[in-house]
Symmetry: D2
């Protein structure tokens, strides 16, 4: 029997990302989508900085939230989504570079809740500087909850 | 003896804010500056939303960080600044409105560390909806550390 | 028609507390039970301290968790329970006193998740010293989940 | 010239632990002390449980705080100590076992602040169950601050 091909996993997530307007406003680009893992980067421009010339804590938190949330999203069932319940960001080092790299991953996938982490770093003279680490709780939302 | 007038307290903080590029990129406006307290608002536009049409968690975290950080900044000594050590945001309700209001305040002002909180809400049909609450630790940085 | 008297609200919560062994091991006493609010205190003894003579961070976190969790528990439906999803404690001041006071309260009661806060303080020379503030997410668990 | 032998590194930390009364009250045992790393375990008894029979969130937070704090302590200068600034614990799975294992480690060692993490797990049928993950900020305190 003929069966319509399933929508490609990565394409489905890319489609979802298209509607993530603030991610585009910030300029974050995702380049790796694997089950439970998201990686991407952000070209740092003056608009991303605070008054001391470092990456703004809001940029860091935004990127940490995006990679953690989409990492969870790669593991939910078709039709389900995720929303952030809480996000804690630890700011380990000031971010001073022209590019920010980020990785988000799932450490526990539950029926209702996902626990995720993010790592953000810059490359300075071939040295990787971890500028932030975050821990997030994500709640699974069902299709009918999303429509409401 | 003649003494130059001290730079007005609020004007000094406004000057500092001018260099906070990401705050302007997001569009957050501060309208209240008191010792230990900052209030402001953000006109919500499509660029602030995620794919379900709610305020993006990164916008929420950014605003929470700004009002907490500047609330701490109102209490440090001349020449000192503050940087965010950690920020935890609890997402209580989805943000769906045309304006976001925020308040940041200091709950403990120390010599080296400040503990701050932020509250973010929307007004829906005259009802105040608390969409997020955050707790932040801020570290005091001295003029000589900032130059480095 | 005869109707058995409903089990008294506060008595039901007290019964629940009886099974909270670690609370008794620590020695925390609850004296106020209201919908969405729990208050209590702990007589500080040498066993509660760390090596500098201050209240141990684990005691603080334990008390913060208890008052937040039971505050949520006052608002769930009969047969439901709550479990802690995450707890963030900010240690504002060292605790050095002979008694610790605590208050836990709900800031958002949802169908599946509760957001709570706790405040812990000591009284030193009639002055209230806030030693810790915490934010917690609690998940509602149903009777059938608890049995498992 | 005769020089008194330096107090052995691990012995110094063990001496410090002797004064950590709440750690002993809970019953946590440390068995690994390396620079930036602490490991230990806790034999779970009824006194460590809450009313559903799981490990109490306060026990989890206490152990998370101890291993993170002592991990930081292994890296500070002689005479310095550390105090917890904030601790966030994510409760990934209910703890139901007869032994709890814990590891604390430093992810950033600064002059004034340390960022640490802890992992707590149980062994159930040869399977490692991560029951909690925590992130903590620790502040370095100097000898003269400790005396105060």
């Amino acid at each position: 029997m003929w069966k319509a091909p399933e929508l490609d996993f990565k394409q489905m997530i890319k489609n979802k990302m298209e509607g993530n307007h603030f991610m585009h406003h910030v300029g974050f680009q995702i380049h790796t989508i694997e089950p439970g893992l998201i990686e991407g980067d952000l070209e740092l421009k003056p608009c991303h900085l605070q008054q001391m010339g470092f990456v703004h804590g809001g940029v860091t938190a935004t990127v940490a939230d995006i990679v953690a949330g989409f990492a969870a999203f790669t593991l939910v069932k078709h039709g389900q989504g995720v929303v952030t319940v809480d996000l804690k960001v630890s700011y380990l080092n000031p971010g001073k570079s022209d590019k920010l790299f980020a990785k988000g991953y799932v450490i526990k996938a539950g029926q209702k809740l996902f626990f995720c982490e993010s790592e953000l770093w810059t490359m300075n003279n071939l040295e990787k500087i971890l500028i932030a680490k975050s821990s997030a709780t994500m709640a699974v939302v069902n299709a009918e909850d999303i429509k409401k």
